[in-house]
């Protein structure tokens, strides 16, 4: 039932009352903990941002889950980028040395190649992710939603007794 639940969540997000921008930012912020190692200090900041900014939290969870999968495959790339930035760029060495000796900063694990590489990729991809997901939500609401709803597969699925039962159970008790 997990795929169905996920599909249901996605569709709920796409059809929610939140604006495409809120959904897009939620998704984009969720990609940061998705791509970077979870137990890091910057993810606490991301969590705080998701909580206090008016963004779609479900979209954030969706972004986190989806990009966690990508992160596994992109790990060597993150390591290479992180190593390059931390070691191979002389210009940045004083910055890293200063951070290394500053309080708190070492707790962020900035000097870890995967943390640095994945965070950089996540930050660079933040705005494109936001833009892409916002565009996707807009398109879905405008035309793709109806088209997908008219697909035979969607109709069959909707008519399926198991799906009906699942939806009843899901909506049981409000």
């Amino acid at each position: 039932m997990v795929p169905l639940a996920l599909a249901s969540k996605v569709i709920k997000v796409l059809r929610s009352a939140d604006s495409p921008a809120q959904v897009g930012w939620g998704f984009a912020l969720g990609t940061i903990p998705g791509l970077t190692p979870l137990w890091t200090l910057h993810n606490a900041v991301v969590l705080l941002a998701v909580c206090i900014f008016n963004v779609n939290i479900t979209a954030a969870l969706l972004g986190w889950g989806l990009f966690s999968l990508f992160a596994w495959f992109l790990d060597p790339l993150f390591d290479a980028i992180g190593y390059h930035v931390l070691v191979k760029v002389p210009l940045l060495q004083p910055v890293w040395t200063w951070l290394y000796n500053a309080p708190i900063a070492p707790l962020t694990r900035f000097n870890n190649t995967v943390v640095m590489g994945s965070l950089l990729v996540a930050l660079i991809a933040l705005v494109p992710n936001y833009a892409a997901f916002r565009w996707f939500v807009q398109r879905f609401r405008q035309s793709w939603g109806q088209t997908i709803g008219s697909w035979k597969v969607a109709q069959v699925l909707r008519g399926n007794s198991i799906v009906q039962l699942y939806l009843k159970l899901r909506d049981f008790g409000g």
Binding site: I52, G82, Y83, Y100, N101, P103, P106, N111, V114, V115
Partner: protein
């Protein structure tokens, strides 16, 4: 903005904090145990660890570190320990403990269950360290030590010279047999020649013929000239014969020089055999016995090996700068941690000062041993801390034993340099087990020792020495008579021994390993052994020499017989031929001179006659002058 959203964030953070608080003790305990196990290679257990995050303090009730070599014993067991973390360092992710105290430190305590790690958790065997290689070399050296055997009866048995000669086959016999073979072959060679070569008759005949030629009786000059020519032809034939005789004469004398030249070497051969037989009989060298090494080397070497194991363990507590990874290994989703120059003397882990105290034995039993001291600068990054790790411990047993242990592990520079010094005064030797040997008592009954042990290690070189000065000694000997005379000697010597000095040296450098044991026991035993065994050994040596002389004389008689045969049948005859040939040559020379003189005389007479004749003929033809 939705400020209400901060509530779930706070809830999450507080929830995470509560969960962490509940499980933190167990997590930290488990983490520390695993780190310790990775270091030691056996179970490390911490009991009742308490973490107080607000005060940044830790506390545990008991720590057990299993001895990796004896997993039913603890290498170290401590009682309560408490320490505080440095907050400024912690904010920089460095774990710095300014001071901590380890109480009730004990060594060798029994474990309730086996502390061996399951196979899957054991460290994969890394490249052997210098100390690993050194210990392996030392074990090989100990295995190669000779098995102590001083059984004079066994030596006497081995000194059954006849069987020894039969087993080993002395060289004098083989060598004199070779001389005989050579002599016989020489004789055969010359004898065969002489059998077919009989020039004496010819020489006599030629001599007689020469003597019969009387130049004055030869009537004409022509006949005289013909005789000269005939003698010269005979001389040429004789010269060929003389050459054969001379060549044979030379060969015979050359062979004589060779086969008779062996004889002066015979005594050297006997001496060589004598030395070899002494070695074969394994007669002890009483001048320089090295008995301590043979008797005590294995036991002392094992103690040194054990000490090296502890040194290796202590050394492993402080990483070496030269061995750290220049580029850390990459692990998926874990990445690599890059380190930068540190402006603070905060290594990633540091215990600035650790007070240690412990005890062993019991006050009631009168063997209470107190231990106290401190360790400074225990760190995972000595090159960041910039100071060596120092351990300074003292032990005291009221009115009995006192001692110190000092270690300096200088891993600040690329080339690590470690030094260890142990000093014990009045160490009780009562009950100290001695190696299982028929020549030593099983243990020391009572006695005390002052021990000084120094070990220095720098890169791939080690220098260690241990000096033991034992006093008030009394050894426990088993009931009954000693096994043999040497055992009796050792018993006698050790029973009268009150003091003993022992020095063990171990050195390892690029030239290899050197393991030496010196003791005044060597001189004491050697002195006694000499007085007891000297007469027996002298007799045995005399027996060896007599046997060799008998063998030599027997073989030499055979050689002399062959020499006589050679002289009689070859040398004398060739000398006779040579003499005859020399005489005949002289006779030829004389006869030819005589003949040539006669020919010259007759030639002049003929010339005078012709001159006279010519003068007379010319007198009628030439007119006389007025």
């Amino acid at each position: 903005m939705r400020w209400k959203g901060a509530i779930p964030f706070v809830v999450i953070v507080v929830g995470a904090g509560v969960v962490a608080r509940i499980f933190m003790n167990r997590w930290v305990e488990s983490g520390l145990e695993k780190a310790g196990e990775a270091l030691v290679g056996a179970r490390v257990e911490i009991d009742h660890l308490k973490l107080r995050p607000l005060r940044l303090s830790f506390e545990w009730a008991r720590l057990q570190v299993t001895d990796p070599d004896q997993t039913m014993r603890n290498l170290i067991e401590t009682g309560r320990a408490a320490f505080k973390m440095n907050p400024a360092a912690l904010l920089r992710k460095r774990y710095v403990i300014e001071e901590m105290a380890l109480e009730d430190v004990r060594h060798g305590t029994p474990r309730a269950y086996d502390g061996a790690l399951p196979k899957r958790l054991r460290k994969p065997s890394a490249e052997p360290s210098f100390i690993d290689q050194l210990r392996a070399e030392l074990r090989r050296e100990l295995d190669a030590l000779p098995i102590p055997e001083f059984d004079l009866e066994a030596i006497s048995r081995r000194l059954n010279v006849d069987s020894l000669v039969a087993i080993t086959g002395v060289q004098i016999v083989h060598r004199l047999d070779s001389v005989k073979t050579d002599l016989f072959a020489t004789y055969e060679n010359h004898h065969a020649f002489m059998s077919s070569f009989r020039p004496d008759e010819d020489l006599k005949r030629v001599g007689a013929e020469l003597a019969s030629i009387q130049p004055a009786q030869i009537r004409t000059v022509d006949e005289l000239m013909a005789t000269i020519e005939k003698v010269r032809n005979a001389q040429r034939t004789f010269q060929a014969l003389e050459q054969t005789i001379s060549e044979r004469h030379r060969l015979v004398h050359a062979d004589l020089a060779r086969v008779f030249g062996y004889v002066p070497q015979v005594d050297d051969w006997v001496r060589e055999d004598y030395q070899r037989l002494l070695q074969m009989a394994k007669m002890p060298d009483l001048a320089k016995p090295d008995l301590s090494r043979v008797l005590l080397g294995t036991t002392l070497g094992r103690q040194v090996d054990k000490v090296l194991g502890y040194v290796q363990l202590v050394q492993g507590l402080v990483p070496e700068r030269g061995k750290r990874e220049k580029v850390p290994k990459r692990e998926r989703r874990k990445g690599r941690t890059i380190h930068y120059p540190s402006r603070y003397v905060y290594p990633s882990f540091l215990i600035k000062k650790m007070y240690l105290s412990g005890r062993a034995g019991s006050e009631a039993g009168g063997d209470l041993l107190r231990l106290a001291g401190e360790a400074k600068g225990i760190t995972t990054q000595p090159w960041v801390y910039g100071r060596p790790t120092e351990i300074d411990l003292g032990v005291l047993q009221e009115g009995k034993l006192s001692g110190t242990f000092k270690a300096v592990l200088n891993h600040v520079a690329e080339a690590a340099s470690d030094s260890f010094a142990l000093s014990l005064t009045n160490k009780s030797l009562g009950g100290f087990p001695l190696p299982d040997s028929p020549y030593l008592p099983p243990r020391v009954q009572k006695g005390k020792a002052d021990v000084r042990c120094v070990l220095q290690l720098k890169q791939r070189a080690l220098l260690a020495s241990m000096e033991v000065q034992a006093h008030d000694l009394d050894f426990h000997f088993p009931e009954g008579r000693p096994k043999d005379r040497f055992a009796a000697v050792t018993r006698e010597v050790m029973a009268g021994l009150d003091k003993l000095k022992l020095q063990v040296d171990l050195a390892r450098n690029e030239r290899g390993l050197r393991f030496r044991v010196n003791s005044d026991l060597d001189d004491l035993l050697a002195g006694r052994l000499k007085s007891i065994a000297a007469r027996e050994l002298a007799q045995a040596q005399q027996r060896i020499m007599s046997t060799l002389h008998a063998l030599r004389d027997q073989k030499l008689a055979e050689v002399h017989a062959l020499q006589a045969q050679l002289r009689g049948q070859v040398v004398e005859r060739i000398e006779s031929y040579k003499q005859q040939a020399d005489q005949l040559r002289a006779q030829f020379d004389a006869k030819l001179k005589e003949l040539e003189a006669e020919a010259e005389k007759r030639k002049r007479a003929e010339e005078d006659k012709l001159k006279e004749k010519a003068k007379k003929a010319l007198e009628g033809l030439v007119p006389k002058r007025p």
